[in-house]
């Protein structure tokens, strides 16, 4: 049972992130919701790499032990880099929106008449 706790944490993170995106009105809270979903998926990728009694997948040159899988670590690293790029883009768009409209409420932007 103790080995199922990370999976429960993943589902909890994804559901809380989805709740924040759908029901909150402040733009910064929507951005935080996307980050929560992304952290949940990264945690899921790393949890898949674990084997019981394993150590980090680095060669020491002294004997051999059971090592956890190295491929999901590379996938998680790529996903974190993509997350940083998306976050930088979203925050610069939020700065532009605030400078143009003066408010961060999602129901009041983008509705003016031309």
């Amino acid at each position: 049972m103790i080995y199922n706790v990370p999976y429960i944490a993943v589902v909890a993170l994804v559901l809380i992130g989805l709740y924040a995106i759908v029901f909150k009105r402040n733009l910064i809270k929507i951005v935080i919701g996307i980050l929560l979903i992304e952290n949940g998926v990264n945690l899921f990728l790393i949890t898949l790499a674990f084997r019981q009694d394993s150590t980090a997948p680095i060669y020491h040159g002294t004997g051999s032990r059971l090592m956890s899988l190295p491929v999901p670590h590379a996938l998680t690293l790529t996903s974190i880099v993509i997350g940083v790029a998306v976050l930088a883009l979203m925050l610069s768009l939020v700065i532009h929106i605030f400078r143009h409209y003066g408010t961060l409420d999602a129901r009041k932007i983008g509705r003016e008449e031309e």
Partner: protein, 163 residues
């Protein structure tokens, strides 16, 4: 963004070289220990962000132009893709060469004596072929890219004097 007090500025100037050397160490040993291009680049960029917070964005923008950083970023990216293309183009120089894109052409050969051994263990940095060169290219791009993002955001949202 206004800078901080004199104590903060002095300690930042003292700590800044150590953090940068640690970041460059992480980039350079990416094929032996955990680390590599993005992780080391993020450490160096955070040390540059520390300078930005301590001295204020107006001071830093007066000394570092954004277009020089943009050129550095392009050079890093071109280096990375160029190393990938060299896997195909080397067939023009060595006629018995069969390659594909991103092939590791430096490992296990003796004509170019850089990074060409195969070994196990943390003490042999002369291994793993093209990977350390790609780590340097990616590290350069990440340093320039992350620092430019933080610098432009800080400069664009500064509070004007007298407000």
């Amino acid at each position: 963004m206004i800078g901080m007090s004199k104590i903060v500025r002095t300690i930042t100037s003292a700590v800044f070289p150590f953090v940068m050397i640690y970041g460059l160490y992480v980039i350079a040993h990416g094929h032996l220990t955990p680390g590599g291009g993005f992780q080391g680049g993020a450490v160096v960029a955070s040390s540059l962000a520390m300078i930005l917070v301590a001295y204020g964005s107006v001071w830093v923008v007066g000394r570092i132009k954004e277009k020089h950083l943009s050129i550095l970023e392009s050079l890093g990216a071109i280096g990375f893709i160029g190393l990938g293309f060299l896997g195909i183009i080397l067939v023009l120089f060595y006629s018995s060469y069969e390659g594909s894109f991103f092939k590791n052409f430096l490992i296990g050969q003796n004509t170019i004596p850089i990074f060409n051994e195969i070994g196990k263990g943390l003490s042999n940095i002369n291994t793993a072929g093209v990977l350390p060169l790609m780590n340097f290219a990616v590290g350069l791009k990440v340093i320039a890219g992350l620092f430019v993002i933080v610098l432009v955001m800080a400069y664009a949202t500064r509070v004007k004097e007298g407000k």
